[in-house]
């Protein structure tokens, strides 16, 4: 589903060159639920934005659904984002001027979907996240957990094959985080591939596979239980 080989991403400013990712290799299979962990600044978000075609990369190759995406033009990238990928951001990123219904509708309109189908999908997605009764509310009238569930509904409504989540529970308390996690697991059971960046070891443990990133490179912790415990402890200290 998502395969990067020897991928690199360099941020150049006038004074410095930052390698956000270097010789980065990952292969996420169709239907997998992968949790990405790693210290702050290690390149997790960079990886996710490149995976989601929000940004281009500097070197190496990236195949999404067996398609080499390095030479796609902007319109083609927009189309793939719209049809294949669902995004869930740490900051929810709902559009404040639109109510819940209209927010969930945004990606469906860009797909050119007809109104009756849009309505059906929106209400279906909102029911799934338990917010059908809040369709006419504005984001500012909802709690953080509710906003994130709207964002999940927005990602779900288009039935994406790949769901990318960057610390989806980072701004939520434990209780709300569990609710979000349960939703993601449910979506996963329905067949979506999920890649989720998280700082929360408890959530990471519930994924099928953990990928650890340090300094822009992948270390597969599942193959080395010692790293796993060491990381869990370190993460616990960071969080404490």
């Amino acid at each position: 589903m998502l395969k990067m080989t020897h991928l690199s991403k360099v941020y150049r400013t006038e004074v410095v060159e930052t390698y956000a990712l270097r010789d980065f290799n990952i292969d996420v299979k169709e239907g997998e639920f992968v949790a990405v962990t790693g210290p702050s600044g290690s390149g997790k978000t960079t990886f996710l934005t490149i995976a989601g075609l929000l940004e281009t990369f500097t070197g190496g190759t990236y195949h999404l659904d067996n398609l080499d995406v390095s030479n796609l033009d902007d319109n083609a990238r927009s189309k793939i984002r719209n049809e294949k990928i669902g995004f869930i951001f740490q900051a929810f990123n709902l559009i404040p001027d639109l109510n819940v219904f209209d927010n969930v509708e945004v990606p469906l309109r860009y797909r050119g979907m007809k109104a009756p189908e849009r309505k059906e999908r929106i209400m279906g997605a909102l029911e799934r996240v338990g917010l059908a009764s809040r369709a006419k509310h504005y984001p500012a009238e909802l709690s953080g957990g509710q906003q994130q569930r709207v964002a999940i509904a927005r990602a779900l409504a288009g039935s994406p094959r790949l769901l990318l989540a960057d610390e989806p529970t980072g701004n939520l308390d434990t209780q709300m985080a569990r609710g979000v996690m349960e939703l993601l697991e449910e979506i996963h059971r329905d067949g979506a591939t999920i890649v989720m960046v998280t700082h929360d070891p408890e959530l990471a443990a519930r994924a099928q596979r953990n990928v650890h990133i340090i300094d822009g490179q992948v270390v597969d912790l599942a193959e080395d239980p010692r790293f796993h415990t060491a990381y869990a402890a370190a993460a616990g200290q960071v969080r404490g």
Partner: protein, 410 residues
């Protein structure tokens, strides 16, 4: 682009939306009416006078002493004879006024002697049998004055001409079926005046807006008028001789009789200069209105650019989110273009009401005519295009916000 979510978002930005819509409405109202006024002024300026403009000049002659009517009439005959001797002069007539002079003589016209309210108002030209020839006027019906018809009159004597040559607009106003020739009318006297000739165009002497309803309505009567202060001579030259004749004419008059005054600056005017002076105010008004329009349009465009730029800056993150969710450059561009179109449409809808309101006020307050619909349609097109033009640059900037903007920390 779907308008429902754009309208929904606009409801959350009422202040800016209403401000711009109002600005567009006001601009539409003022620009439509101003353009109409400009057009009216310009078309007045370009109206044909009916006279042979390229070859005509006018002399304003002031007597240096008080003459009796009889003396004045004799002096006039001497002057006319002298002017005919000037090289290049083709014809000359004495006159009480000339087209586009500004002000001048006019008479209320009735169709019956005892009629209470006038049928119309006509500019009143008094000249001799040379009048038509000296102005280069061509008859389209009837005949010129015969020498024996020409009366000589002092200013305070009763004038009761029995015949007149009228302009076609006057003939048509009096006799709409085109059968004016040979019919008569009344001009302030109980004696009928018979129409013996019709000329196509002979513009009025006055150029004020009050006479707009009587535009082009003129009459010529065969009267050699002796005004105590002096009078006008209208001189027509052979082609190409105007400048030389204009220089020679006052010299010839002075040589014939020194007791007179011909102003060195304004005493001898080519008809081109007459026309230029007559419409100086109209020209000034047209320029002023044009400047007002340009400034208003510029301010409105600047307002749109400013507000849209502000909104684009404010919405960078949600633009990034939209891009992340699949919006293309064109989707974002058309979002802002459509948003502007919706605001502009609301603005012009209100503006149309304001436009007709302002026009109504101008119609009742000043003698402006009712605004034709084409001006409103034209104004609407101008403002919609202005809006789309003004919004294009900020909208283009918005479309270039990268999708990665969605992940930037708030």
């Amino acid at each position: 682009m779907d308008i429902q979510p754009i309208l929904a978002a606009l409801r959350r930005h009422k202040a800016g939306t209403i401000l711009i819509a109002l600005q567009i409405a006001l601009t539409l109202a003022i620009v439509c009416n101003a353009l109409f006024i400009i057009h009216q002024r310009l078309s007045r300026m370009n109206e044909p006078s009916g006279v042979d403009e390229a070859n005509i000049f006018v002399i304003q002659n002031l007597w240096g002493e008080q003459y009796s009517t009889q003396e004045a009439l004799e002096r006039i005959q001497e002057d006319l004879a002298a002017l005919r001797q000037v090289p290049g002069v083709q014809d000359v007539t004495p006159s009480n006024q000339y087209p586009f002079k500004g002000g001048g003589w006019d008479n209320l016209i009735t169709l019956k002697p005892d009629q209470r309210t006038e049928t119309t108002d006509a500019s009143y030209f008094a000249g001799d049998e040379h009048f038509l020839g000296a102005l280069g006027e061509k008859l389209i019906a009837g005949r010129d004055f015969r020498p024996d018809e020409v009366q000589s009159r002092g200013l305070r004597e009763k004038m009761n001409p029995s015949v007149a040559i009228v302009s076609k607009p006057l003939a048509d106003k009096l006799y709409p079926h085109g059968d004016a020739l040979g019919k008569s009318f009344y001009a302030m006297t109980s004696a009928p005046v018979t129409i013996v000739g019709i000329v196509d165009v002979l513009q009025r002497s006055d150029v004020g807006t009050w006479s707009v309803p009587y535009a082009g309505e003129s009459m010529v009567v065969p009267i050699r008028m002796a005004m105590p202060w002096g009078g006008y001579y209208i001189v027509r030259t052979k082609p190409g001789q105007l400048t030389a004749a204009m220089r020679a004419a006052p010299k010839a008059l002075y040589a014939e009789n020194r007791m007179r005054m011909i102003d060195s600056k304004d005493g001898v005017l080519s008809f081109a200069e007459v026309r230029h002076r007559a419409f100086e105010r109209d020209r000034g008004m047209a320029i002023l209105m044009s400047i007002i329009c340009a400034v208003l349009l510029a301010i409105t465009a600047a307002g749109i650019v400013g507000l849209t730029s502000f909104w684009v800056g404010q919405r960078r993150r949600q633009i990034g989110v939209r891009r992340a969710l699949g919006a293309t450059h064109r989707d974002i561009l058309s979002y802002f273009m459509t948003e502007n179109l919706l605001i502009s449409l609301a603005g012009v809808a209100l503006g149309v009401l304001l436009t007709f309101g302002l026009n109504l006020w101008l119609v009742t307050r000043f003698t402006l005519s009712v605004l034709p619909l084409t001006y409103v349609l034209g104004g609407i097109v101008i403002l919609l295009l202005l809006g789309q033009g003004a919004v294009f640059a900020p909208a283009l900037r918005a479309s270039r916000v990268p999708p990665i903007e969605a992940t930037r920390p708030a």
